[in-house]
């Protein structure tokens, strides 16, 4: 076998896997979104969802959630990753504890937070017993959209910050300590070192982490479903509704395409903004 073909042969299995289980189904969905039920090209499915009263709110909620959750998680994860990399003992333990929420399905995470925040939930009964409130409060109802929003933000941050964390921790581990020492010698304090050394050298990891996390944010579903229900429509929830409640596979496929386009746009944005020229890599 020629040397040139070797790398391609090695990645072949994963490429085949992706083709079979991601690209092929996706092409099907894509085709479905643009195909009339009797055959033939159409944009009718897109018209259906665009004129639906839930479309704009679900788009707005999804973007807003991503806009609040992702930056907050990024800052948290950078802080946590810096702390972990400074630790000499027990860093594995701390990292392990911090990543536990990742092992919990998002549905379960939603249920946990509902259990905390519900009218009969833990926080209500705690506040009642301590005497801060006179009767159990219902926070998560349609009169309090901001409370629902905040609850979802909390739950998402709790659940998925560790994805960013593990990527950043390994990225920080790749930066040789001589760069920090050189910066220190030449007059940079800890804050300057963070901005002039750590973050620039961390760009590849930041890019990966942000792409991954933002795509997941556009697919937010179960947590919103549990905590917000129909009071907080999101794109993924609408896709689910159209597919299973309204039995309109075409419209559901159209939602999937919308999510895909958003994801692509943001991925391209990150690739562009956080690009590291080859000659400037570590």
């Amino acid at each position: 076998m020629s040397k040139k073909a070797y790398p391609y042969v090695l990645i072949m299995p994963s490429v085949l896997f992706l083709l079979a289980f991601f690209v092929y189904p996706f092409l099907q969905v894509f085709a479905q979104a643009f195909t009339h039920s009797e055959g033939g090209l159409t944009i009718a499915h897109f018209e259906t969802i665009f004129y639906d009263f839930n479309f704009l709110p679900s788009l707005k909620n999804t973007l807003l959630l991503a806009l609040v959750v992702v930056p907050a998680q990024l800052c948290l994860a950078i802080g946590m990753a810096l702390m972990i990399s400074k630790m000499e003992k027990g860093r594995d333990t701390v990292l392990y504890v911090w990543t536990i929420p990742l092992g919990i399905s998002d549905l379960a995470a939603g249920i946990i937070w509902l259990g905390l925040l519900d009218q009969n939930g833990f926080i209500n009964s705690f506040l009642f017993h301590v005497g801060i409130i006179d009767e159990a409060q219902s926070w998560l109802n349609y009169q309090n959209p901001w409370a629902i929003f905040a609850a979802i933000v909390f739950a998402e941050i709790w659940r998925a910050t560790a994805i960013l964390l593990v990527i950043l921790v390994s990225g920080i581990g790749l930066i040789p300590k001589e760069y920090y020492e050189a910066a220190e010698i030449f007059g940079a304090n800890a804050w300057v070192r963070l901005w002039k050394v750590t973050l620039p050298l961390l760009r590849p990891s930041l890019q990966t982490a942000l792409i991954l996390r933002t795509l997941l944010a556009f697919e937010v579903f179960a947590v919103v479903m549990i905590l917000g229900g129909s009071n907080m429509p999101v794109l993924m929830g609408e896709a689910y509704n159209w597919a299973f409640s309204y039995r309109d596979a075409g419209a559901a496929a159209a939602y999937a395409v919308v999510i895909l386009v958003l994801s692509l746009l943001f991925t391209l944005f990150y690739l562009r903004v956080l690009r590291v020229p080859k000659e400037a890599q570590i």
Partner: protein, 336 residues
């Protein structure tokens, strides 16, 4: 005036004592080389001077200022690292400018200093490149330029030439020497290469397992090694040490060993008064001289002799050490 005063510095990692009370007085504008074998604590001492490592006890002063407890950025030192540590995400220009930017120097002054030091190191044509586009030697020059650009009180260098090939090292060595002589910066330079040390240093501090055995100019270190260790470390081949040889009649009290350099013998092909016979084991012809390995009274002895002497392997040669070159060492290995 930038002297460096190092008083009784001690440092251990865990229960390993790496530095055992090091004291050094480095003069203004002096080029001091810390020389010693791998693992003797050279880098540790240099990093303590820089502030990257904290001593367990002892005092470091730069000029009149006690810097023992100051962080590196407040010491006004610059450092060249063994593996350069040239920032990969910055251009050569920005690398050299890094220290100046931290000091909030004006853009004009930055441009001026960067261009001047880049010229000094012959890298003015590389200013817009990234470190990934440079060769090892060029990176090395950037690291030195970055250190010179901040006009530090003290310049610290940790084996800056060790990653270069032999030829480039030779070239960089003489360039460095010129540049540093010009800049008049007090410099501490770490190396385990004695030739580098001899050729660069005003004074060499020879380190031995966390102690400084001798701190003196290269000639003095070569001629009068303060300890057996120094004599055995410096010189190629090193000094011979003979236990109670027949030449001992001139030995002072307490003398245990005679130290004599390979080139410091009077040589004769015939027996004469005061000469002792040695048996020649190997001969290495090195052009300018011949290097012999021989045996005297059961002890190995290395001798350098003129290249025209007709010696033969297995033959006998008669020797007498030059009296003024004989050095005597006591039981502890210290010169008498």
């Amino acid at each position: 005036m930038t002297t460096i005063t190092i008083e009784n510095i001690k440092k251990s990692f865990g229960d390993a004592d790496i530095l055992k009370s090091v004291t050094l007085d480095i003069k203004d504008q002096e080029f001091t080389v810390l020389l010693g074998p791998s693992g003797c604590g050279k880098s540790t001492l240099l990093r303590i001077i820089a502030g990257l490592e904290t001593q367990d006890s002892g005092v470091i002063k730069i000029g009149e200022r006690d810097v023992s407890a100051l962080p590196p950025r407040d010491r006004n030192v610059a450092m060249v690292f063994q593996n350069y540590a040239v920032f990969p995400h910055l251009t050569v220009f920005e690398n050299i400018a890094f220290g100046l930017r931290m000091k909030k120097v004006s853009d004009d002054k930055i441009k001026h200093n960067v261009e001047r030091t880049a010229e000094l190191m012959h890298i003015e044509h590389l200013l817009s490149r990234y470190s990934g586009q440079l060769s090892g030697g060029q990176r090395q020059r950037v690291a030195v330029a970055r250190a010179l650009a901040v006009e530090p009180d003290v310049l610290l260098m940790d084996e800056p030439l060790s990653n270069l090939d032999a030829l480039l090292r030779l070239q960089m060595r003489s360039e460095l020497k010129n540049v540093l002589e010009e800049s008049k910066t007090t410099t501490v330079y770490v190396t385990h290469d004695q030739v580098e040390a001899m050729s660069l240093a005003d004074r060499i501090a020879v380190m031995n397992e966390g102690r400084i055995d001798q701190y003196d100019n290269p000639d003095e270190i070569y001629r009068n090694p303060a300890t057996e260790y120094v004599g055995g470390f410096i010189g190629n081949p090193p000094m011979n040490f003979l236990t109670s040889p027949h030449w001992s009649n001139s030995a002072p009290d307490g003398a245990q060993k005679l130290g004599i350099r390979p080139e410091d013998f009077l040589v004769s092909m015939e027996d004469q008064v005061g000469y002792l016979p040695v048996q020649i084991q190997t001969i290495e012809k090195l052009g300018s001289h011949q290097q012999l390995t021989s045996e005297l009274e059961g002890q190995g002895l290395r001798i350098n002799i003129a290249s025209e002497l007709p010696v033969q392997q297995g033959g006998i040669l008669f020797l007498q050490p030059k009296p003024e070159k004989m050095r005597w060492y006591d039981v502890r290995g210290e010169i008498i």
